[in-house]
């Protein structure tokens, strides 16, 4: 399976392939091509800086959706120990678009919940491209209640294009499922940290996002609507996603400015998929730091802290009632 490459990544990836080809050649044949390699390496470094240093919001979105990007279970594997995945909503089904379970994280026991995308077509069909149905949200709710009963902090990884819009999902109350999670999360007495690792797609993301702290990876997004859907409404053309992405101001940096995010965690040049260890380390450090802070607040004040955080979100002003 050829690795997926975005258009703007192409020249860099081509160059990197040439370099590794030369390396192989020199290793095999004993020909000295170190000068050419060094020259090409320098060129690649420049090119990476040129292309990746100043990405547009829509290019960042393409990186956030990159099929080689680390997903929830990759973070669980890299950061947690003793992972016990727990399945099902005890009501209808197990939804593979949301995973959850128990784990150990840097000396404490936590409950982890996250959207889960797939890498192959088969996996993506199984995971429904990370788009949960009501049973996924109800599984998440069950695990949050479990966390509350046993006093475990909750770590949520957000990465979804949105909640699934389908007949069965509507029949089983997609709106109610999301609403209920928001309601219950707002009152939980255990610390909740949400990390947007890829796509923060609307209500489908918020349904596991009512947290004391919301962290975002540098190239991730958090939006009320996807840029393509926004473009099809505004410009009657879903291919105008780049224009909509500029208008929606949903990048991690924008969200930090709007106080929707509390911290932006850096990614390696070109995105998390190019060197996942960097984001594993960054998220691990940030999670631990925020958990320590929240643990110091104490259970009684945790829900109040969360209330105050969300109460302030929004920009209004007062004007005299129009006549």
């Amino acid at each position: 399976m050829a690795a997926f490459v975005l258009d703007f990544e192409r020249p860099i990836v081509d160059l990197e392939e040439t370099i590794s080809g030369l390396r192989e050649l020199s290793a095999k044949g004993g020909i000295d091509v170190s000068a050419q390699i060094a020259e090409l390496e320098a060129k690649a470094t420049d090119l990476r800086k040129e292309v990746f240093a100043d990405l547009t919001p829509y290019q960042m979105t393409q990186i956030a959706r990159h099929p080689r990007r680390p997903y929830t279970l990759d973070y669980v594997e890299a950061l947690m120990e003793g992972w016990q995945e727990l399945h099902g909503d005890r009501n209808y089904k197990d939804d593979p678009a949301i995973v959850g379970g128990l784990a150990r994280f840097q000396g404490r026991n936590v409950v982890v919940i996250g959207h889960q995308k797939g890498r192959s077509t088969k996996e993506n069909v199984h995971r429904n491209f990370g788009m949960p149905r009501p049973e996924g949200y109800r599984k998440a709710l069950r695990l949050m209640s479990l966390a509350e009963r046993f006093g475990r902090p909750i770590v949520c990884f957000i990465d979804t294009p949105g909640a699934y819009p389908g007949i069965g999902a509507e029949e089983r109350g997609q709106a109610e499922a999301i609403a209920k999670n928001i309601l219950v999360m707002s009152k939980l007495r255990v610390p909740i940290i949400a990390v947007v690792i890829g796509e923060g797609g609307s209500g489908g993301a918020l349904a596991i996002g009512v947290a004391n702290r919301v962290l975002m990876l540098q190239n991730s997004m958090y939006s009320v609507i996807s840029p393509e859907a926004c473009a099809s409404i505004l410009f009657r053309d879903s291919t105008q996603g780049a224009r909509a992405a500029d208008a929606l101001k949903y990048t991690a940096q924008d969200c930090l400015g709007l106080k929707v995010a509390d911290e932006v965690i850096g990614e390696p040049l070109g995105g998390a998929h190019r060197d996942p260890e960097v984001v594993f380390t960054g998220i691990g450090e940030a999670l631990n730091r925020h958990l320590c802070e929240l643990e110091a607040i104490g259970f009684d004040a945790i829900a109040g802290d969360r209330y105050d955080r969300f109460r302030k979100l929004g920009v209004t002003h007062t004007a005299p009632p129009p006549q």
Partner: protein, 291 residues
């Protein structure tokens, strides 16, 4: 066949959070000529004055026509008891959002068209003598979409219910979150619902009334969280709009899908109530819960 490495099928890009649902056509084309109005249900001509007195419900076929937020509020509560609050709250344009027109201009246009600062009207009132907090969306104001101002007012309504220890009634009709305020409008779902959670903890009832249409971020927050949820007949209620679902699953939706009757059948709402019966019904439910 989809490329196995592509970041997902093209259809999911259209998948969520649409602002205005597809089927808002119902009731839009109400033909009025002076004293007479043609019913959208039975095509009979009704005296406009009588139709208004019946809260825009046809006396012949019970078709529920569109009614303004303000008229609906006044029809529900005891005469002369509605005290509107927070009228001064209005949205800003934090993203400097611009499509074919600047959002600030759109906002100004809606303010001058409706004579209101936001898409939500709320305040104190009495219902069969009982003090309540009550609010309604004004669908004429940008499709009843929820931005920061609506979120602020819904939150204040719940908080006031808690402070004054009264029930809260919310009349929903909204296409969802307001795209032009971006992710901040999404956050209004959490902000308002957190205030509702506090109200619930104090044992104060909240009744949600769903009217045509209630979708998106409003449906996926306080609208679907009533202790009792009532709906008007044939209202479109759901998370995703029908057009989005059709585009996603590439099939035609069954007749009556996402209408009040469908939700009742699937256990999502408590009752479907004729608009003319609502004042008495709301008062009776509150009495049964509280007296």
């Amino acid at each position: 066949m989809t490329d196995p490495n592509s970041p997902g099928p093209a259809w999911f890009h259209r998948a969520h959070g649409g602002q205005v649902p597809a089927s808002t056509e119902r009731n839009e084309s109400l033909a009025t000529s002076g004293m007479w109005t043609k019913c959208a249900g039975c095509a009979q001509f009704l005296r406009s004055e009588e139709l208004e007195a019946e809260a825009m419900v046809c006396s012949n076929c019970s078709e529920h026509h569109k009614i303004s937020g303000e008229d609906r509020l006044l029809f529900l509560v005891d005469d002369g008891t509605f005290e509107e609050l927070d009228q001064e709250v209005t949205s800003l344009d934090p993203l400097s959002f611009f499509d074919s027109k600047a959002y600030s201009a759109r906002l100004a246009g809606s303010i001058s068209k409706t004579g209101r600062n936001s898409a939500f009207i709320e305040g104190r009132a009495k219902l069969s003598g009982r003090p309540v907090q009550i609010g309604t969306f004004d669908f004429a104001f940008m499709g009843g979409s929820m931005g920061s101002a609506v979120g602020e007012k819904v939150t204040r309504m719940f908080e006031r219910g808690l402070d004054e220890r009264t029930p809260v009634i919310c009349i929903n009709s909204s296409g969802g979150a307001r795209m032009q305020e971006g992710v901040l409008s999404l956050m209004q779902m959490a902000r308002s619902t957190a205030a509702l959670a506090r109200l619930r903890d104090e044992g104060l009832p909240y009744i949600s009334l769903l009217t045509h249409p209630t979708t998106g971020g409003v449906a996926a927050s306080f609208a679907m969280l009533g202790d009792v949820i009532l709906a008007e007949p044939k209202a479109l209620i759901g998370f995703a709009g029908p057009r989005v679902i059709e585009q996603t699953i590439r099939q035609v939706l069954p007749e009556g899908f996402q209408r009040s009757e469908f939700l009742l059948e699937h256990g999502m709402i408590d009752q479907i109530v004729d608009r003319r019966d609502l004042p008495a019904r709301l008062a009776e439910i509150l009495s049964l819960l509280l007296d």
